[in-house]
Amino acid sequence: MSKLLIFIASRIVAFVLTVVIGVTVVFVIPRLLPYNPVEAQIGFIYSIGQFYDPTAIESLRQTLYELYGLKGNPVEQYIGVWRRLLTLDLGPSIMSFPTPVATLISIALPWTLGLLTLSVLISWTLGNIIGTISSFFSHKRFSKVLTGMAVILYPVPYFILALVLMFVFAFLIPIFPLGGGITIVGVGFSLDLVLNLAKHAALPAISIIIPGTLGWWFLSSFTLTSQKKTEDFVRYAELKGLPNGVVLKRYLIRNILMPQTTALGLALGGIFSGALLTEVVYAYPGLGRLLYQAIINNDYNMIMGISLLSILGVSLATLLLDLLYPLIDPTVRYR
C-alpha cells in the first residue's frame, strides 16, 4: 500500500514540477522577445494615421503599462502571475482588451476540442488498423502502395496539404467551403446546423486525418507490428495453425495497442494547444489560431492561458496514463 502511495505521490510531484517549470518558461520567453505590447500598440496607432492628441498618447502609454500588468520588475510580475493563476484568474487579454483571457479561451476551446478530438481519434483508429494490416500482409501489393504513400505523406508539411485540399475541394470541385467555422443564419439546433458545422470542419479534419492516418499512426503501427510478428509467440501461433485473423487480432493488435494507447493519450492531451496552421489556413476559430494571434500581438496573458491549458493537458494525460498503466497492462504492473 505504501509503495502504491509513493508511486502515486512521485507521479503527482512530477506533474506539479512540470506545470511549475512550464509556467516559468512561458513567463520568461515572451518577455525575452524584442517586443513590448504597449509600444507595439502605440506604434500601430502611429502607423495607421489615427488622429490623436499628442499629449493624450503619452497618457495612453502610461495607462496601458498599468492595465496590461507590465508595471513592476520581473519578480513582481512573476509573483503576480502565480497569484492570479492560483485564484484561477488568467487576467485580461491584451490584444482584445479588456475581455478576460478565460472568456476568449472558452469561446475557442469547443471548436478545437470538436475538431481535434474527432480527427485524432479517427486517424488513430484508421492509422493503426491500416498500419497493422499492411505490416501483417507486408508482401501484398496494397501494403507496398500504402507504405509508399505513407513515406511520401509523412514529411509533407500539413499546411501544404491543407492548401491543396482547399484548392481541390473548395474551388475546383466546390464541395466544401473555403474556410470558417459555420455559415448558417437564423437556424436553431437542427440537423442543418450540425451538417453545416460538419461541412466546415471536414477539410480541416481531413487535412489532419490524412497525414495522421497515413503518416505517424500508420508508420508507427507498421513498425511495431513488423517487430512483434517476428517474435516467438507470434511465430508459434502461426505454426500452431491459427487463422490469420486470430493472430492479427489477439496476438498482434493487442500487443501494439499498449504503446499506441500511450501515444493516443499524449496526443489527446496535446490538442489543447490547437492545430495552429490548419486553423489559420481554414480560418477555423480554435485555440491554435488564438495562440497564433496572441503570439504575434505578444498578448502575454493569452499566451500564458493557452500554454497553461496545453501544459495541463499533456501533464494530466501523462499522469493519468502513468496511474492507469499498471491497471491495464499486466506486463508493467507495479509490484
Binding site: 509503495k3 494615421g49 482584445s96
Partner: protein, 759 residues
C-alpha cells in the same frame, strides 16, 4: 448545381478502392469500408442546402441581394463585444472599429472627410464646426431629422453625453477628450457648444473620419449608467442604413440587414441597393483570391502580386482603382520607404542621410514595383501623398527648391508613361532624387568616412560600416521588398548592409521606442491637404517625449538630434491658423523645405494596393477617372458612400435589391468655419474676449501646455526606470527557480531510486 461534378469526381476517387477491395478477402476490407464511409460523409455534407455558394445568408436570399466585403482583420476572438471605446487604438483588438462593418454601416459620425478632394462631408452634423475666433470653443450644429435605428432622436444631448462620458471614463478610454475638452453643453436641441482646454482649430478631427478610428456619437439612452469598459453593446444601436442581423459565433463574418426606416432615406432620399452587406474573412490570401474568382467576395483590401495575378486572370468582371488594368490603387495614405534613427550616429548627420539617398537608384526600385497589370506607384519624394490637390499645393510650388537637392522630375517619367500612370499627362513633375554616387562619396568623405583597401566604406573611427535595416515580415510585404532593394544598392556602393525582417509586434515596438538604425517605417502619412491631421503635430519638439538612455520614440521627427526651432515655430503658428487658409499651406511648404534639408526619412511612394472590386454582381464602384467619387477603400468608414452608390448588375439573381437606387447628393464643404466676434456673440449669446486679450490668452495657454509636458517628461523618465525589464534579475529568478526545481526533482528521484532495489 454541383451534383454533376460531385458524382463524377467522387466516382473517380472511390472506384479504384473498390477494385482493390475485390482483390482482398472479406477480412481485409477495412480500407474500402473506411474510404467509403469518408466519401459517403462527404456526399452527405455536399447535399446541405445553401443559399449561394458557401456564404452565410438566411435561407432563400439570392446572391444579388448581398454585397460581400472582406473582413480584413481576420477571425475575432470575441465576436460578441461591440463596445467601440473600451479597447485602445483600432485593429484586431476590438471588433467594433475593425473589419466587422460597424464603422462603415452603423457608427454615428458627425463628419467624414472626402479623401479624394480633402473636403468635409457633414453627416450627422449639419455643417462644418464653427470655431470661436480664438479657437477655444466650437459649435456643432446637428442635422434635423437624425434618428437612432431604435427610433429615438439623435440630439445635442447625445453629443454632450458622449464627450462627458468619455472624459469621465477610466483611462485609456477617452484620452483625447480628457486632454482637450473643458466642457460641453447643449445650446438647444440641435446645437452643442464645446469648450476646449487649449486653442485648437482642428479639434473636430477627433470626430471626423479621416481614415480610420474616428470617434462616434454614443446613444445616451443606451450607454447612460453603463460601465464603459464592461458594457458589450451587443447588438449595437446604429445610426447607419444597416442593422446587425447575424454574427458568426466563430468570429469570421458579420451580416448586416438594410434598415428601411433609416433617417438618411428621409433626409437624403436614398436607400442602399443591397438588402444585406456581409463582412467575411475567408482565411489567408489564397482563400480570398479563390473567393473573388468565384464571385463570393465583392471588395477586398489587397493581395500579394501572385494572388492578385490569379484573380486578374480568372475574373473577367474585375475592377480596381480603374475599371480595367492597371488596377492597383496608387494613393494609400502612407509614403513607404526608409526612416533613419537620427539620434544614432552616423545617421544623426544630415549629410550622411543625404549621401545614402544619393546612393539609391530610384528607377530600379520604381521598376520593381510595376505590376503585371501595369500598375505603377505614384512617386512621392515629399512626405505627402500626391493627390492632384497635393501636387498643386506642395509639389509644383516647391519644384525649384527640390531641384536644388537633385530632384529630377523626369526620372521615371518614361516608365510611368509606358504604363499609363494616372499623373503622367497632367502632372509630369513627380520624380525623385537622382542617383549621384560622386556626391554621395563627397558627402561621406567630408564627414570623415573613407574607403578601406577592399573598397568598402569605413566609419570615421576606422571600423567597417555596417547598416542594419529593420523591415516587415508577414505583413506589409512591399516594405520588405523596399528593404532588400535598398540593401542591394547600398552594398553596391560599398556599405555592408544587413536586413532584419520582423513580425508586426517587434517591428512596431522598434518603431515606437526608436530601437533601430534604419527601418522601413513610414512616418510620412497624409491623406488630406491639411497635413497636421496625420501626425504633423509631432514635428514640434514640444510633443517629443525623450526616454532615458534611449533614442526617443521613433516617430519621424521625434528621432531628430535636437529640436528644430523653425519647425516648433511653424507648428505653434499652425495651431492658431485656420486649417483651410492659404497661410496654413504656406506654413506647410516652409516645414517641407526644412524636411527636405534634413531628410529625417526617405519615402519612395505609397505602395500600390490591389483594392479589387468585383463587377460581376455589383456595379457603379468608384473607378478612376470617370467615376472617382471616393477612394475604393473598403476598410475605411467612408466606404459607406460606396455602399450607398453601388447598383446590382442583374447577373446574379435578386429579390430585395433595389435595381436603380437614387444617387446620394451631399454637399462637400470647407473643413471649418471661423466665426467673427460678432457672429460668435450671436451664436453663443455672449461676447468673446477682446482681440488683444485673445492673443495673451493664447500665449499663456501654449506656455502652460509646454509646462505640463515638461512635468510629464519627468514622470515618464521615473516610470521608465521602473518599467524597464531587468534581464539580470529575470535571468536570476529563472535560474533560481530552475535550480530549486532540479534539486527537488533529484531528491524525489533518489528517494524513489533507493526504494526500487528492495522490490
Amino acid at each position: 448545381m454541383y451534383c454533376g461534378k460531385i458524382y463524377g469526381v467522387s466516382g473517380k476517387i472511390y472506384m479504384p478502392l473498390i477494385i482493390n477491395s475485390k482483390r482482398m478477402n472479406g477480412k481485409k476490407s477495412y480500407i474500402a469500408i473506411s474510404a467509403a464511409l469518408v466519401l459517403v460523409a462527404a456526399l452527405a455534407l455536399s447535399a446541405v442546402p445553401v443559399s449561394y455558394g458557401q456564404l452565410p445568408l438566411p435561407a432563400g436570399v439570392p446572391r444579388g441581394d448581398v454585397l460581400v466585403i472582406e473582413n480584413h482583420w481576420g477571425t475575432y476572438a470575441n465576436p460578441n463585444n461591440w463596445n467601440p471605446i473600451a479597447s485602445p487604438g483600432v485593429g484586431p483588438a476590438s471588433i467594433a472599429p475593425g473589419g466587422s462593418g460597424y464603422q462603415q454601416l452603423c457608427k454615428a459620425f458627425l463628419w467624414y472627410i472626402n479623401t479624394s478632394n480633402s473636403m468635409l462631408i457633414p453627416w450627422i452634423a449639419a455643417e462644418p464646426p464653427i470655431y470661436s475666433p480664438d479657437f477655444t470653443s466650437l459649435i456643432v450644429k446637428l442635422r434635423d431629422g437624425v434618428y437612432w435605428n431604435d427610433g429615438k432622436p439623435l440630439t445635442a444631448e447625445d453629443v454632450v453625453f458622449t464627450l462627458k462620458y468619455l472624459k469621465e471614463a477610466p483611462a485609456p478610454i477617452g484620452v483625447n477628450e480628457k486632454a482637450s475638452v473643458k466642457d460641453a453643453r447643449a445650446l438647444d436641441r440641435l446645437t452643442v457648444l464645446i469648450e476646449l482646454l487649449s486653442p485648437n482649430p482642428r479639434w473636430h478631427y477627433f470626430y471626423a473620419v479621416i481614415i480610420y478610428g474616428a470617434g462616434g456619437i454614443l446613444p445616451k439612452h443606451i450607454w447612460e449608467g453603463k460601465d464603459p469598459q464592461k458594457f458589450e453593446n451587443n447588438p449595437p444601436t446604429c445610426a447607419g442604413p444597416y442593422n446587425l442581423r447575424a454574427v458568426d459565433p466563430a468570429g469570421n463574418w458579420f451580416l448586416w440587414e438594410r434598415f428601411d426606416n433609416w433617417w438618411g432615406s428621409k433626409v437624403f432620399g436614398v436607400v442602399p441597393a443591397a438588402k444585406y452587406v456581409l463582412y467575411i474573412n475567408h482565411g489567408p490570401d489564397e482563400a480570398k483570391a479563390l473567393a473573388m474568382t468565384k464571385h463570393e467576395l465583392d471588395a477586398l483590401r489587397t493581395l500579394l502580386p501572385e494572388q492578385a495575378e490569379l484573380v486578374i486572370k480568372n475574373n473577367p468582371y474585375l475592377k480596381g482603382w480603374r475599371a480595367s488594368a492597371p488596377f492597383a490603387w496608387p494613393l494609400d495614405p502612407c509614403v513607404k520607404g526608409i526612416a533613419f534613427q537620427t539620434k544614432t550616429p552616423p545617421f544623426d548627420k544630415r549629410e550622411v542621410r543625404w549621401a545614402l539617398a544619393y546612393a539609391i537608384d530610384y528607377r530600379t526600385i520604381y521598376r520593381a514595383f510595376v505590376g503585371i497589370d501595369k500598375s505603377t506607384p505614384t512617386p512621392a519624394a515629399l512626405p505627402v501623398i500626391p493627390h492632384a490637390a497635393d501636387i498643386e499645393t506642395y509639389y509644383i510650388p516647391l519644384l525649384d527648391y527640390l531641384k536644388q537637392y537633385g530632384y529630377d522630375p523626369e526620372l521615371v517619367l518614361d516608365i510611368a508613361r509606358e504604363n499609363n500612370a494616372w499623373w503622367v499627362e497632367k502632372y509630369p513633375v513627380l520624380g525623385f532624387w537622382k542617383q549621384d554616387l560622386a556626391k554621395a562619396e563627397q558627402l561621406l568623405t567630408a564627414q570623415g568616412f573613407k574607403r578601406g583597401a577592399d573598397g568598402k566604406w569605413l566609419m570615421p573611427d576606422g571600423t567597417p560600416w555596417t547598416i542594419e535595416i529593420k523591415t516587415t515580415s508577414g505583413f506589409e510585404m512591399e516594405s520588405q521588398r523596399i528593404a532588400f532593394l535598398v540593401a542591394d544598392q547600398w552594398r553596391a556602393f560599398g556599405i555592408d548592409v544587413k536586413v532584419t525582417p520582423l513580425e508586426s509586434g517587434p517591428f512596431s515596438t522598434s518603431y515606437s521606442i526608436g530601437d533601430f538604425q534604419v527601418g522601413t517605417f513610414w512616418p510620412g502619412c497624409s491623406q488630406i491637404l491639411d497635413l497636421y491631421a496625420n501626425w504633423f503635430n509631432r514635428w514640434s519638439s514640444k510633443y517629443w517625449v525623450q526616454k532615458k538612455g534611449e533614442g526617443g520614440h521613433g516617430t519621424g521627427w521625434n528621432t531628430a538630434e535636437a529640436p528644430i526651432q523653425e519647425l516648433d515655430r511653424i507648428v505653434d503658428e499652425l495651431e492658431r491658423t485656420d486649417p483651410g487658409s492659404p497661410r496654413a499651406f504656406e506654413l506647410y511648404r516652409e516645414a517641407l523645405k526644412i524636411w527636405v534639408r534634413d531628410l529625417p526619412w526617405l519615402g519612395f511612394f505609397p505602395t500600390p494596393f490591389y483594392t479589387f472590386q468585383d463587377g460581376y454582381a455589383w456595379d457603379n464602384w468608384p473607378t478612376f477617372p470617370e467615376n472617382y467619387y471616393m477612394d475604393p477603400v473598403s476598410w475605411w468608414s467612408q466606404h459607406l458612400f460606396v455602399i450607398l452608390k453601388v447598383k446590382p448588375t442583374g447577373r446574379a439573381p435578386t429579390k430585395d435589391a433595389i435595381m436603380d437606387p437614387k444617387p446620394l447628393r451631399i454637399a462637400n464643404t470647407p473643413l471649418v468655419k471661423i466665426a467673427t466676434a460678432a457672429e460668435w456673440e450671436s451664436l453663443v449669446g455672449r461676447a468673446p474676449p477682446a482681440a488683444g486679450v485673445t492673443t495673451v490668452t493664447l500665449r499663456e495657454t501654449v506656455t502652460q501646455r509646454v509646462t505640463e509636458l515638461r512635468t510629464q517628461v519627468v514622470t515618464q523618465v521615473q516610470t521608465q526606470t521602473v518599467t524597464a525589464i531587468d534581464w539580470g534579475t529575470l535571468s536570476g529568478v529563472a535560474a533560481a527557480v530552475g535550480i530549486v526545481l532540479l534539486v527537488v526533482g533529484i531528491a524525489v528521484g533518489r528517494a524513489l531510486g533507493r526504494r526500487r532495489p528492495a522490490q
